[in-house]
Symmetry: C3
Subunit: 395 residues, 3 copies
């Protein structure tokens, strides 16, 4: 057996997890052991795919992606993950359905689920609403399954909400673990989640929130850096503080960019909108006030412009401890796809392989979440498949 898989299975046997039948909406709903298990299975399933070993466990069944915002990377990750487990896909296109009206979430959630095993939801545009919607769907499914109207309870996976982006942050954690050679090596390392300048507005807060909400578990010195006014949700700041305290790390918020990056070991410079802008945007979207939205966009872009210096350049990189550069992609790269962006082309190009590698974990992170929710004994299930050793493609 592959040494990496073997080692992970041994470690898994030491963990105490309770994930069977559970959804994955927030990393902070999960214990440290459960997060580690998610990463370990991400790695195992990645290794199995690399070694051409089938991970097909469903004979049939469908997965339902609900994308309330455009997506390429997450969509492909979700489809790839579900396909590798044996599931077919059926999109829920809300423009053609009733589910957008809050009143009938319960109905539609059940109508699409008679033969569904997984529902993946991306809902990050409307602040204070995305996670609520995901929970509403989950609760509707509890009703249907409880009343025996559904033969199985589909697992709900967050593909990004207004609050968290767990498939991203689990991928990020997997990359960081791989880079530093183990979670135990993260203690004392400095991680900077920084705002970055972008000539666009309204990007979700949840990448930054997901990062500080998860990476604060490992005794790192986590720094959240942004210009004044670009604050994230208070509730997530509380999570990060609490995690840091428990893990023996620190959590700091700063508005001084250079100070933030000094001696950093991992950096993620990335644009997001401020909470108050997202509130205004949500209300204008609900009111379908397009003039208002245009005005808001203009005002925000002007405000953003004041912070055009928040670009991650070679000069800034030189302040760090030769930091690992991370980005969920696509990035706004100065001179590549915009005049001024989050990162200089020089730095971006030099780190291309690292960012692609970071992205490569996502399909397996999603598979891992589904795996842990579907099998009472997820370790035995992997062992069973390794024993069978069915090739994915018998060349």
């Amino acid at each position: 057996m592959n040494e990496k898989i073997k080692k992970n299975l041994e470690r898994l046997k030491e963990l105490n997890i309770d994930m069977f039948g559970k959804d994955f909406l927030l990393t902070w709903d999960k214990t440290d052991d459960e997060i580690e298990a998610t990463v370990l299975f991400t790695e195992i399933l990645n290794e199995m795919h690399k070694n051409n070993i089938s991970t097909k466990v469903f004979d049939s069944g469908i997965a339902v992606p609900i994308f309330r915002d455009n997506s390429t990377r997450t969509r492909f990750s979700f489809t790839s993950a579900c396909n590798a487990l044996g599931l077919g896909m059926q999109d829920l296109d809300e423009k053609k359905s009733q589910i957008a009206h809050g009143e009938t979430v319960r109905e539609t959630a059940n109508m699409i689920s008679f033969l569904a095993d997984v529902i993946g939801i991306r809902d990050d545009l409307y602040i204070e609403e995305g996670l609520k919607y995901q929970k509403e769907v989950a609760s509707a499914l509890d009703f249907g399954y409880g009343e025996e109207l559904l033969h199985q309870r589909p697992t709900v996976i967050s593909l990004q909400s207004d609050v968290d982006h767990p498939t991203q942050s689990i991928s990020d954690l997997s990359k960081i673990k791989d880079y530093f050679g183990g979670l135990e090596n993260l203690k004392g390392k400095k991680l900077v989640m920084s705002w970055g300048y972008s000539p666009s507005y309204g990007k979700p807060l949840s990448v930054a929130q997901g990062m500080i909400g998860l990476l604060s578990r490992y005794g790192m010195d986590v720094v959240l850096a942004h210009p004044k006014g670009y604050n994230v949700m208070d509730s997530v700041l509380e999570v990060a503080k609490e995690n840091s305290k428990k893990s023996g790390g620190t959590f700091t918020v700063t508005h001084d960019m250079k100070e933030a990056f000094k001696d950093a070991d991992v950096v993620c410079p990335k644009s997001w909108a401020s909470y108050s802008v997202m509130e205004q945007r949500r209300d204008l979207l609900h009111a379908q006030d397009f003039d208002g939205l245009d005005a808001l966009e203009k005002a925000c872009l002007l405000e953003n412009k004041e912070h055009v210096s928040w670009e991650y350049t070679k000069e800034i990189e030189n302040l760090t401890n030769n930091a690992l550069y991370m980005h969920p992609l696509p990035a706004d790269v100065t001179g590549l796809n915009c005049e001024h962006g989050e990162v200089s082309r020089e730095v971006f190009d030099a780190n291309l392989k690292e960012t692609y590698h970071q992205a490569s974990f996502k399909p397996f992170a999603i598979m891992s979440m589904i795996w842990l929710s579907k099998f009472k004994n997820p370790i035995a299930k992997v062992e069973e498949l390794l024993e069978k050793n069915t090739p994915r493609l018998n060349k």
Copy 2:
């Protein structure tokens, strides 16, 4: 073996059916035995899914949904059914094809079918055209298969036409059978298919037509109730009359709502447009006369408003014999998604589980139709799968 499945297989062996290689467009094209077989397989396949027994019979092959009207429930039912049988999906998006031009239906129907096993068609917007289109596709496939251009003849399943909605009515019949404990218990029961007020217009007639065209087979007292002017197709009235006569039941049309619901055992209050409105709408749609369509909509909504009292309320329900409330969903519910609708919120909420349960039969009804069309010996095929007992998901 599961007792329900066993009982159904025994009953099936007493039936005389000829469904191999046949399409399913109208329930009244099928004999009583064939309809019963369709319900029995609906139940068997439902039980197999509930008991985690694989129903996968296709190693590969595609199913083609052609939706000429938006759909969530039927689309998910069709995808779920085809996936559970082992088929992949490829939508025909007519906006990107030539098939809309009548001249080339033959061509496109064949071009999409070289490796297709099932074609599901929803075409209910254009009165006197939907069923014709379904038959034109079927005839084009007969040509391609007859000339050996296609290796296999895809089965055409109606996912609703202007005339009938067989996947809905077979689901409804399955629910009614389940509720009363057997088709033999329907004799003498009163079933009311009633028009209901809705603040929209242009809903297809085919739900009502499908219900009276099928449920009139079982010796029930079938009542079709609607305000004057909301008549359905004469040809379907004839089917219902004929069926009632043969089965020893009655078929009545009334415009008196309260009289209709009195002592009813099963009720389905549901809005539809009148035949003459659908004719005008079709002609305006063909002419792309959007002003005309707006004017028609306004006139219809005004006319509908005169019948706002056609709401199924607790008061009306009290007139019935504690009737089973049915609806194909989504319903227009007073105070939930509209000001005045087909049903009061009180009644709707009290019957939520029943309507969801009714809906749960549809994927299995579609599977049953495909099963009966694909296997020369559909009973032996189920027995073979039960013998194998492959788990759908081996937890």
Copy 3:
């Protein structure tokens, strides 16, 4: 074993091919042996499907269609082919992605490919850009696979570019081989690829280019006929000339329609735009100059009208040597879907079966291309499946 399959496998063992891990973008990138192998596997996979023998070789994995132009036939062929091999589908909808910006082709190509085995690309609207884009994707995948960011290198299949349409021309060659009973019987036969009048403009040149670029390999007298001004790419003319010389055939360009068709054995009358129109169109599309595009369309349609006599009629057919009529479909048929078109209804209807039969090869041509790219020993793989003899649908 099926005699046809047996014969093809024997012939395959005599061929010298190097197609493992290779893309399929241009037929003239392949040797004569490789083209023949592609046709032989097209026929074998077709026979296997006809005889209900499973061709499923992938346990899981996705195929990604990228359609930069609308498509029905090619889309269904691609989905059908990939499904029959065991792959799931995930469309890349460029309107929802970043891939359209040249700068990030490398990124998106890798992001969608972590679990992808095949990428099919149709990009025929922009002259001098389609093939370049296909090559850019291929090169991006070389990077990702080379850097071990991808576990497998997805095979890129051209589903039509501005230069070639290999899945079409391989289907055409398969049909011609079938019609004349073998490639060895094509020597000395006269094939006419002719422009045809159409009341539309801007059709890609690549069907004509694909035909002359491939069919010039077999010692035929290949004639390219079109009105002055409707010239195709010089580089492809060179390919056709070179091929003809090597194979002992001839290649002629003429502007005299009747002369062209005289004594022809195979004809393909089909509209296309001139190279210079495609250049103007490309530039106007890039500039989003919609008034300019309207003006160009009007000018082109007027110019086309001068050549309304380029219609393939019974009278013209009578000049030929009872020629096989070919068309990739859909055709512009006089009196069927336009007032004047590429072909008279009489001739089109009389040859319906032949054109449908021609089309039926495409899904298997695509399967063949994937097969040859995925297996080091594609012959042994077929023999393995024939040995297993798993039914596609066990009736």
